[in-house]
């Protein structure tokens, strides 16, 4: 399925991920965590497909488990002591739960970042920076172009050296490293010398004239405005919830959850809607296409 959310304006994409990541990192409340983790996995599933999701989840579960075990080993706060370690330190229920909670948070953050990497392509970054720091955005854009080009060049140089009897693929570790350095050094000369022509090309096309503008193919249209509005509304509700304490949970010295009430359930719903936003947009788009097709 083609992701519709990534076709929105970069500002929308970026704001969304910033909000979701911040909320995920802040809150250790079980409901918040469950929502964030589930939605991130769901969205990643839509973006990356079944295989990628299965792989990431497996990897993450292992890591999360490790973190959940490590935490109680160092953190001995909490009142409910389960047993004592050999060195006399207590293992508490609170610290185990806390470890689990931070593991879940870690997994959610990583999953959101995985989605972020697919949606926020380099050109969107270049665009966003271009508004604030145009020169650095240009540096970024150039560096992004150079990296693949240099990688290819490294391969080509290594082949060319093989062609004159300088093989890099065998020999001791030290020899291989030396050979690698030789190639890197050749590549650096090539890159620096050739960049001069790029500078000429930039100057020749008027770079450095005052009042440079910044062009992009992104347009902030009605649909972006609508989604932005919804997003801001949800964010402010969740934020209000966070300030009033609906999203915080106390772990130490003893577990304490804020009692659920009408307002906090509203906050949960808002958070769920926020986290599901891209998935909802994708589904709506899918439905629309189904309708158009059946209408034909």
């Amino acid at each position: 399925m083609k992701d519709a959310f990534s076709t929105f304006h970069p500002v929308v994409n970026f704001t969304y991920f910033t909000a979701v990541l911040l909320f995920s990192m802040f809150s250790l409340h079980p409901v918040f965590q469950a929502i964030s983790l589930t939605c991130s996995v769901l969205y990643f599933f839509l973006l990356g497909g079944q295989r990628a999701t299965r792989f990431s989840l497996l990897y993450l579960l292992l890591f999360g488990l490790f973190m959940a075990v490590i935490n109680p080993a160092f953190n001995h706060a909490g009142v409910t002591i389960l047993f004592y370690l050999k060195n006399g330190n207590p293992i508490t229920l609170e610290s185990i739960l806390y470890g689990l909670a931070s593991a879940a948070m870690f997994m959610a953050v990583i999953m959101w970042f995985s989605c972020f990497n697919i949606v926020m392509t380099a050109d969107k970054f270049v665009y966003l920076f271009g508004r604030v720091v145009p020169a650095l955005a240009l540096v970024l854009s150039m560096a992004l172009r150079f990296v693949p080009r240099y990688r290819v060049q490294i391969r080509v140089i290594s082949t060319a050296r093989q062609g004159v009897g300088r093989d890099v693929t065998n020999g001791s570790v030290f020899e291989r490293a030396r050979n690698g350095l030789q190639i890197l050094s050749m590549m650096a000369t090539w890159a620096l010398e050739n960049a001069i022509e790029t500078a000429d090309s930039m100057k020749s096309r008027g770079y450095g004239l005052p009042r440079r503008t910044s062009f992009s193919i992104f347009r902030f249209d009605r649909r972006d405005r609508a989604v932005c509005g919804v997003m801001l509304l949800l964010v402010s509700v969740v934020f209000a919830g966070a300030i009033t304490g609906s999203s915080t949970m106390r772990f130490f010295p003893s577990l304490k959850l804020p009692p659920p009430n009408v307002f906090s359930s509203g906050v949960y719903c808002a958070y769920l809607a926020l986290c599901l936003l891209p998935v909802i947009i994708d589904l709506l788009e899918e439905l629309k296409w189904k309708r158009i097709k059946s209408g034909l």
Binding site: F74, M105, F106, F146, R149, G180, L181, L192, T198
Partner: protein, 242 residues
């Protein structure tokens, strides 16, 4: 064509204002964090302070409207630092990033050193996946390049192989390793404690040792030729630090 002279080297009024702002904003952030953020204060305070410290570099660079060739030197060196890894496809864990950032700082000054470090950190995340560690990487690499430039200028560091290797090993182990490990602790464990930090350092010890050793090796072999190359480019085209 140029509306203002290039006087970025001297601290001007702008730098003063920026410094005062920072002096106000950083304590403000810490207070806000301590009182409002609860559990996550360490992470967010450190993150925000890092961003503040990177901001002036970006702004100074933007404000003096750098020339095309300056942009190119930063972009090329950052890209070499990232792509350089491909030359060691047969040797995993062999990353030339720190070495190249140091050499940039040494040859092209503290500002270029910082920018190359930060850009390299950012760009490498595009090719290996962005994560919450990106700001820490950018910051630590930037600091390494910046310090290299400052130390050269103040005369504490020389453009010779041995001092560079020493600085390289030190910065890869303590600055890069130290900041990154601390960052990963703050990122995922919502509280901070010295024993926990110590554990993280211990568990990352060999990793950092290998990284430092590789950096020393890089600088030992590459520092002279790379410095020569950069100096040649600078002379030939009158770049940076003119």
């Amino acid at each position: 064509m140029q509306e203002q002279p290039l006087n970025a080297g001297r601290p001007g009024r702008r730098t003063f204002i920026a410094a005062t702002l920072l002096a106000l904003v950083i304590p403000g952030t810490i207070l806000f964090g301590v009182f409002c953020l609860g559990d996550r204060k360490y992470y967010f305070i450190s993150l925000l302070i890092m961003l503040y410290s990177m901001l002036p570099f970006a702004l100074v660079f933007e404000r003096r409207r750098p020339e095309a060739r300056e942009l190119l030197v930063v972009a090329v060196l950052a890209a070499i630092a990232v792509a350089g890894r491909a030359a060691f496809f047969m040797l995993p864990q062999f990353k030339p990033v720190v070495a190249i950032v140091i050499i940039t700082g040494v040859c092209c000054g503290a500002e270029a050193g910082f920018l190359v470090g930060a850009v390299a950190g950012f760009v490498s995340n595009f090719f290996f996946g962005q994560g919450p560690w990106a700001p820490w990487q950018m910051f630590s690499l930037g600091v390494i390049g910046f310090l290299a430039g400052i130390l050269i200028k103040r005369g504490f560091l020389k453009k010779e192989r041995l001092p560079l290797c020493l600085y390289g090993g030190f910065s890869a182990f303590f600055i890069y390793g130290g900041i990154i490990d601390c960052g990963s602790l703050l990122m995922f464990t919502p509280y901070f404690s010295w024993p926990a930090l110590l554990t993280v350092y211990v568990s990352g010890f060999w990793f950092n040792v290998v990284h430092a050793a590789a950096t020393v090796f890089f600088l030992f072999v590459l520092s002279r030729p790379l410095i020569e190359k950069l100096d040649r480019i600078k002379i030939k085209y009158g770049m940076l630090e003119s």
